[in-house]
């Protein structure tokens, strides 16, 4: 029991650190799929990460504003169901290239046979 509790605490601590840098990747993945407005990005992240990544709307807006400033994201205004127009975000050419290079360098390595085998070893 003590071991289980320790394991849970360690896992939680590791996941908390791991997830901190994940929001950007999930935002980009959401927009790689299609243009989305904030609520759709949020739903995409929560759904596709099986609820392991949750994001507050404020931090999402803050990240999107920063990405707009550095020209990796832009948006189109489109009419919403009610209320003001919605901002539909998409990756700019710079953003797409940044995402592609990030995935090449940091994500694709998990697809190498060697790494797949290592990850399978402990199953």
């Amino acid at each position: 029991m003590k071991k289980d509790k320790l394991l849970d605490e360690l896992l939680l601590s590791w996941e908390n650190t791991y997830k901190k840098g994940q929001l950007t990747l999930w935002i980009f993945m959401a927009l790689q799929e299609s243009k989305k407005y904030v609520d759709e990005i949020k739903s995409f992240i929560e759904e596709k990460s099986n609820g392991t990544i949750t994001c507050e709307e404020q931090s999402l807006y803050r990240s999107l504003r920063k990405f707009e400033v550095i020209d990796v994201l832009a948006y189109d205004l489109q009419e919403g169901n009610k209320g003001p127009d919605r901002k539909y975000y998409y990756m700019t050419d710079l953003g797409q290239e940044l995402f592609d290079r990030f995935v090449d360098r940091n994500i694709k390595l998990f697809h190498s046979t060697e790494i797949i085998n290592i990850l399978k070893l402990n199953k």
Binding site: K20, V69, D71
Partner: protein, 139 residues
Amino acid sequence: MKTITSYLLWYALTVAVLTIIFRYFLSFGIENNSTAIITVSATIYGFLMFASGWYFGHKDEEYLPIYDIGFRFHLTTYLVHGAITLLWIGLGFCSKNEDTDISVNILIYWGILLLIHFLFFLWSRKKTIKNLDKDDLFE
């Protein structure tokens, strides 16, 4: 990139209002030889200026973390305070007993400090991409 944000403009407006009120009470205190009015108005002015800078600065940072080590807010304070002070003197609103050289000298010395702040600001820009902190971009 947008550096004049709505929170900075609200701050500028607050500084303008506070400075006009402060200048009024300062001149009134000097006119009436009241150390108490001068001291109290200067203390309250200092406190409210700090509080409004703190409030709007935090709001501004939450909206978009522009990495400028406080320079935009410092420059705004200097420009608004300086403009109102010079206008106050120029339009003859100050007390007859007021030594206007003191106000002008304060602006000169403050300007030198602002220049030093500007140099630190230029140096800090090495850590930024489009005025945002490199280390904070993809948090």
